[in-house]
């Protein structure tokens, strides 16, 4: 049975440390989230692709992935500090100093004393991590608006201003940007793209979102159908966006899914149905021909020759980087009517780098600036040099630039996605880990009668776990260390990559349950030197 006076006393004695740790952890998490530089990480990760660093950086390419250090180290050590000192304060300190004699000389049962103290620790830890999680959620929502809706990116902000619409409203109706030329221009500039690349990006984004929402609805419908079917695994029932992209015909079976997709496009259900049918046909053609599986982005070589343009380009070339050349975007290289080279997956990265370097040389700026704003590649001067150095024709280069811009923008978008479910599991896993740590401290606190010994064991074990985790994170390799710490049971990598993590969390919960129960039994039976 719970004892209110004991609870009150526990709160009075421990609230200060609780408050400090809660504030510190919330601030650090919020700080991590607010300072997350999606574009920066995305470009670093893109640059490091295929190198030894890509593994390390891959975790940084999403907002939640970038929080791994917080979940594995910072919040763990803060939690350990709280639980170790509080667990000591609650039990062994009162036994050692003898002040528990007063509590036990009143008609309060020992069992309710220890139960209340256990519950205080469990509930205070739970509340602490709930507040920390909510702070993170709030920070992300305030900074990126990505918790309750689609992230409000710079282009949406710019377009919202132009269209005089609410950012929030517009972020759910991107087709409104498509419909307005002025908004398109502003939005493109905001994302460091030209209108051409931005149009491709926006179209791609809308298409993806419509499929994503449709996939969710189809999954829900399938849940209703197959819920009681034992033969169906959860993953069989679930339809992911990728699966739907491969088999768009699934869309046609669900009116709700069509409606959702149509809403994203801002068109009628019938129009959307036609759009989907068109995509199905396109897929079938590809499958039927079964030639090289050409990806959409693969440039098709149809060079358009215009002598006048070429001359004009040469003139501007000599005039140096004049801003007026913007109107002569469609420029073609005379010699490159047939490309000397094909762009393939293998050489794409290398070619892009060469193009960037050439553009930088041509425009007399450095490569970083070009990488930050790939529209420089489309500058006629830059194009001229690039065609020479790479042997590609201008269309290929422009296509390549567009592709690079779109994919970089898309990876920024992806990085900013806030998967509430993943966040929930990260938060719950962290809470269970800290509860398991607290149960170790609490057990030591009830087992021993001397503060020093209890602190050494009840603080030493969780701290050792933390140190092992830290070493493991630093070395970034598995060499058996992971079997020596319970933080391994909280598998952030698996949670972030939607892998199998459930049993680890169950084990953490079990550790906490067993040790808290054992503490309760032990304390009611042990001899107290009071």
């Amino acid at each position: 049975m719970l004892s209110k006076p004991i609870l009150k006393q526990s709160i009075q004695a421990n609230w200060k440390l609780w408050l400090i740790i809660t504030i510190v952890a919330s601030t650090i998490l919020s700080g991590f989230i607010i300072s997350y530089d999606a574009a920066g990480f995305a470009s670093i990760a893109a640059a490091a692709e295929g190198t030894a660093f890509s593994n390390i950086l891959s975790s940084l390419t999403s907002l939640l992935g970038s929080l791994e250090n917080f979940y594995k180290l910072i919040s763990v050590i803060l939690g350990i500090v709280y639980v170790v000192f509080t667990a000591n304060n609650l039990v062994v300190n009162e036994v050692d100093s003898g002040s528990l004699a007063y509590t036990l000389s009143t008609p309060i049962k020992r069992s309710s004393v220890i139960l209340t103290k256990s519950l205080y620790l469990i509930l205070s830890v739970t509340l602490m991590y709930l507040i920390i999680s909510l702070a993170g959620l709030g920070a992300s929502q305030l900074q990126f608006n990505n918790v309750t809706g689609y992230p409000i990116t710079d282009d949406v902000k710019a377009a919202a201003e132009t269209l005089n619409q609410e950012e929030r409203y517009l972020s759910e109706r991107l087709y409104l940007i498509q419909e307005d030329e002025h908004a398109m221009r502003e939005a493109a500039v905001a994302r460091d793209m030209d209108t051409e690349a931005y149009a491709i990006y926006l179209e791609d984004l809308i298409r993806n979102r419509s499929y994503k929402e449709a996939a969710e609805i189809i999954t829900d419908e399938r849940w209703d159908i197959y819920e009681d079917d034992d033969d169906m695994e959860d993953s069989d029932i679930e339809i992911t966006t990728e699966e739907l992209l491969e088999q768009p015909e699934m869309l046609l079976t669900s009116n709700d899914a069509l409606a959702a997709g149509a809403r994203i496009h801002g068109i009628s259900i019938n129009d959307y149905r036609e759009l989907v049918v068109g995509e199905i046909d396109a897929l079938e053609v590809v499958e039927f021909e079964n030639t090289e599986p050409v990806e959409e982005e693969t440039p098709e070589i149809e060079p358009v020759e215009t002598e006048e343009n070429q001359e004009e380009t040469d003139e501007t070339n000599e005039n140096e980087e004049s801003e007026e050349v913007e109107e002569t975007v469609v420029v073609q290289d005379t010699v490159a009517s047939t490309p000397q080279r094909e762009v393939s997956e293998d050489n794409a990265e290398l070619l892009l780098q060469t193009v960037i370097d050439s553009s930088a040389t041509a425009l007399d700026i450095n490569s970083e600036q070009v990488r930050d704003n790939l529209t420089f590649i489309k500058d006629p001067t830059a194009l001229a040099l690039s065609t020479q150095t790479t042997g590609l024709n201008t269309d290929q280069i422009i296509m390549m630039a567009n592709h690079a811009m779109v994919s970089s923008a898309r990876s920024v978008d992806r990085a900013l996605e806030f998967d509430v479910e993943t966040y929930f599991w990260l938060s719950l896993g962290l809470l269970l880990l800290i509860l398991a740590m607290s149960s170790i401290s609490f057990f030591a606190s009830t087992l021993f009668n001397r503060t020093g010994l209890a602190l050494a064991v009840g603080g030493g074990i969780p701290f050792a776990f933390f140190l092992i985790t830290m070493i493991q994170q630093l070395m970034d390799s598995a060499n058996g260390l992971e079997y020596m710490t319970i933080t391994t049971l909280f598998d952030t990598d698996a949670i972030l990559s939607s892998g199998e993590f459930g049993w680890g969390l169950v084990a953490l919960g079990a550790i906490a349950f067993v040790l808290y129960t054992a503490s309760n039994i032990l304390f009611t039976k042990k001899d107290l030197p009071l």
């Binding site: 009162e94 509590t103 036990l104 001899d527 107290l528 030197p529």
Partner: protein, 297 residues
């Protein structure tokens, strides 16, 4: 059945430490002293009474309730002063007192204020900032203000100055008049002698003697010491046949033990002798205990 009954209580901590086969009976309304040197087993016995530790063998019952199994229920009738005092929480003395009175479910704040006044305690200080004496006073106020039927106290006068000790003894006498049962351990024989009805003596974990203080206070066999002026008189008196405990021939002194009924006879006999002085030798509990310990060793 006695009000508080300790039966064959044994707790062996090894290496000869612990208590062995301790049996005591304390009646309602009695003031029971528990004496012994440090480490004799006083605190261990008291911890059993409070249900803080479990006996290896034997049991303690208070008001018919098992002190170990029904520990929480027993506390409805018991107030306690621990041997080493520390208060829980981070509060002032006053707050602690109020909280404790509330938790005990008995006693009154008015009584506590009276006691605070009497003991000249500054109860507004934080309990952690208190000196040993202040803590002791606070503990005394806590125990007495909670108005329990039974008071169990482990060396309650440590840290008190002699004046405060007298006040405390008076307070205990008051409690005794109210019909409270008091069990207190002490190593100061004087205070035990002053208020206790019975005293148990514990040595090396075993009860070696239970002394009824009436027998010491109202002992009818008294000892008298006298010195004679002449050796002649000295020798003559010895020959009279009184029970003589000791003689000091060089000082011409004689120690005579005699029952109160015979005192007139002795005085008649002494009329014919030339005396230097004649006085009663008072027996104190302390002397008595010292004798007991001496015999034991």
């Amino acid at each position: 059945m006695a009000y508080i009954e300790i039966e064959h209580l044994t707790k062996d901590y090894g290496k000869g430490r612990g208590i062995y086969d301790v049996s005591l009976e304390i009646e309602k309304g009695e003031v029971y002293g528990f004496v012994g040197i440090n480490g004799a087993g006083k605190t261990t016995t008291i911890r059993h009474m409070m249900g803080f530790i479990k006996p290896d063998e034997g049991n303690v019952s208070i008001k018919g309730l098992d002190a170990t199994k029904s520990s929480a229920e027993v506390k409805r009738y018991v107030s306690y002063i621990p041997g080493e005092i520390n208060f829980p929480g981070n509060t002032t003395g006053e707050e602690f007192l109020k909280e404790h009175i509330y938790l005990s479910g008995r006693g009154s704040w008015e009584r506590a204020q009276e006691l605070i006044e009497l003991l000249q305690l500054d109860a507004t200080a934080n309990v952690h900032a208190m000196s040993k004496g202040m803590k002791q006073k606070t503990a005394i106020v806590t125990a007495l203000a909670s108005d329990a039927d039974i008071l169990i106290m482990d060396e309650p006068t440590t840290g008190l100055d002699p004046l405060m000790r007298d006040i405390f003894i008076d307070l205990l006498k008051e409690e005794k008049e109210k019909g409270k049962t008091i069990f207190m351990s002490s190593h100061i024989f004087q205070e035990v002698e002053e208020i206790c009805d019975r005293v148990a003596v514990i040595q090396q974990g075993r009860i070696i003697e239970v002394v009824d203080m009436k027998n010491i206070r109202y002992n009818k066999n008294k000892e008298y010491r006298m010195e004679f002026k002449s050796e002649e008189a000295f020798k003559q008196f010895i020959s009279l046949g009184y029970q003589i405990n000791r003689v000091k021939p060089e000082d011409l002194q004689v120690f005579v033990q005699i029952h109160d009924e015979q005192i007139n006879e002795l005085i008649q006999s002494l009329k014919s002798f030339d005396l230097v002085y004649f006085k009663e030798i008072k027996v104190h509990f302390e002397d008595y205990i010292t004798e007991v310990f001496k015999e034991d060793v």
